[in-house]
Amino acid sequence: MFFQHLINGIIVGGIYAMVALGYSMVYGVLQIVNWAHADVLMFATFIGLILATKLNMPVLVMIILAAAFAAILGMSVERVAYRPIKSGNRKMAVLVSALGMSTFLQNLAQLIFGSTTRQFKAIESKTYMVGGLSISNLQILILVVTAIMLLILYILVYKTKVGVAMRACSVSVNNAKLMGINTNLIISGTFAIGAFMAGVAGILIGVYYSAVYPTMGYLLGMKAFAAAILGGIGSIMGSVLGGFIIGIIECLGAGYISPAYRDAFAFLVMIVILVIRPSGLMGAKRIDKV
């Protein structure tokens, strides 16, 4: 049973990791928390649901299109809610704007799609028994897609010129601008990449649980945000690590202690780690100059 809980934990952990990256990358570049991130995820999942059920699209095409929609929505959120007010030192204004955007998207989704939980049966579920453990094709799909997405992101950030520009922005946007980097483009790109990954994660989790609903982003986003903080917000490797830690610990805690406290375990881990290492597991110490 331990290994079965472990598998469950790794799978949700992978999802958390993908969502956490979006929070972390945006924070790395702009030092703001993009609260609307989880709601972009929810919107993309609904779009995926519509593409799959109304237009009968093949799964892979559906995932890519819906995630692309998420990317566009993510960029629009940045353009509408953050860019106009982020000049100067107005972090509080951006924070409030982000919360407003989140509420707006959630209510818009309720208005358009209704508040009931929809089912998402894009893939027929099959279960395989491997050495006493049961694993389904959906779980394998989630693992494979998560691995591919993380690999692509790694190559993008550490092996390409765009990646260098992104990392430069995360050190200092102003200095990056002086070096001739089109920082607005890089910021938009960061939002797009984060939202794309969130879109993929949203669809995978929607299909895995067969549940899509307007508030689905809330708890998922909170856990992913906890993962990003735990790993050290701003650090890509940290977010991935944080996602897996939160996923595995909450599944083991729920399995061995009580499922009623499942969410509490996730946040408890975050608090404990922050007490020991205030900047997260892999976060660099950042000194705020006032």
Partner: protein, 372 residues
């Protein structure tokens, strides 16, 4: 000068109050009788609240078409309690203060009903709930009745079912609130009595939990032969949907009465047992109700719609039974001694609870089929 102003003000106030009182007296003798209805019409359970209000509206409309009560038409005063006890409590005060409201059909959530019940008692206003199922409401007020089943009956009924099927090891899933706990407690007690072993107890959060991997993994390893789910339809559907992946595929599943709704059929629930209280094939009356409801609103009524319809009809019948003046007191007295043949069966009330029977259904070929 100042003193005189004070006197004048007092006089003015008194005149206003006197006018207001007469105003109220006038309203009571008006042509119309009002029934209050408090249900969640916005928020996450808005859809469930709407189906109840639709059913109550249908009952009122049908009565008005027949000419109303003693020539007076019935007006339905609808309020949205949002499923929140705070809103429900203020609505109860509003209903009690409006003297032309003579009876109330309310509410959906047990917690809302608990918040309202003392206010109705204080205002001597009879209230009847189609959906509030918590055992805490049993015998709590002389002015409260319910067409809803009692959770403790549902729990015992489920335990008896497992015993009759020769199942000796069950897993209990319950939603972590009054509703789930009420059923789960009764189920546990009855299982002990009958010698059915509960091998694992799993909980989840209503409206939040979508991932049942840990619960189902534990169940798969526990050696249970069956799962009983005390909760609402979405969660029950999701558990049924996800069970295959965790070695729970061949277990017998029984859903508590929260699952007796068309939404359950959208999930992978073939062969699943469900408790309920309304069988549309039960009687001619039930068949007619289903047809009329469908014609009016374009969708099929479920368990709670039928229960709401009966609740409204009982109020109306009690009003008709009143021989003398129609007051809150006289209506309450009539409800307390009524025997009414509704669409779900025969009702009479003891300690707030109705004598309605629990039924067992099974999902066969995508529809609920009554088990004999």
């Amino acid at each position: 000068m100042k003193k005189r102003k004070g006197i004048m003000l007092t006089m003015a106030l008194m005149t206003t109050m006197a006018t207001l009182t007469t105003g109220c007296g006038g309203a009571a003798e008006s042509k119309s009788i009002s029934i209050g209805a408090s249900f969640p019409l916005t928020g996450t359970i808005a859809a469930d609240g709407k189906t109840c209000v639709d059913a109550v509206n249908l009952a009122v409309k049908q009565e008005n078409e027949k000419g109303g009560i003693g020539g007076k038409t019935i007006t339905l005063v609808q309020e949205d309690d949002e499923g929140s006890p705070t809103s429900a409590a203020s609505i109860a005060n509003k209903f009690v203060d409006k003297s032309d409201i003579l009876a109330v059909v309310s509410s959906y959530n047990s917690s809302c009903m608990l918040a309202q019940v003392d206010t109705y008692k204080g205002g001597h206003l009879p209230a009847i709930s189609p959906v509030a199922t918590t055992p805490a409401l049993t015998g709590c007020s002389d002015y409260f009745y319910r067409t809803a089943p009692n959770d403790s009956d549902c729990g015992s009924y489920a335990a008896e079912f497992f015993e009759s099927q020769g199942i000796s090891k069950v897993a209990l899933f319950y939603e972590n609130d009054d509703y789930g706990l009420g059923i789960a407690d009764a189920f546990t007690a009855k299982c002990e009595e009958l010698g059915v072993e509960i091998v694992t107890v799993q909980t989840y959060v209503y409206g939040e939990t979508v991932d049942y991997s840990t619960q189902l993994t534990a169940t798969g390893a526990s050696g249970a032969e069956a799962i009983f789910i005390a909760g609402c339809v979405t969660e029950q559907g999701l558990i049924c949907e996800q069970r295959d992946d965790y070695g729970c595929k061949d277990m017998v599943i029984l859903c508590g009465n929260g699952g007796y709704a068309p939404a359950l059929l959208d999930y992978d629930t073939e062969g699943v047992y469900v408790q309920g209280e309304f069988d549309k094939e039960l009687s001619e009356k039930a068949k007619t109700f289903v047809e009329e409801f469908k014609a009016e609103y374009g969708y099929e009524p479920g368990n709670w719609a039928a229960s709401s319809y009966d609740a409204a009809c009982i109020v109306i019948q009690a009003m008709k039974n009143c021989s003398g003046e129609l007051t809150r007191e006289s209506i309450n007295e009539q409800i307390s001694k009524i025997t009414y043949e509704g669409v779900c069966g025969t009702y009479s009330f003891v300690n707030c609870n109705s004598s309605k029977k629990e039924l067992m259904f099974r999902v066969e070929n995508g529809i609920f089929t009554l088990m004999k």
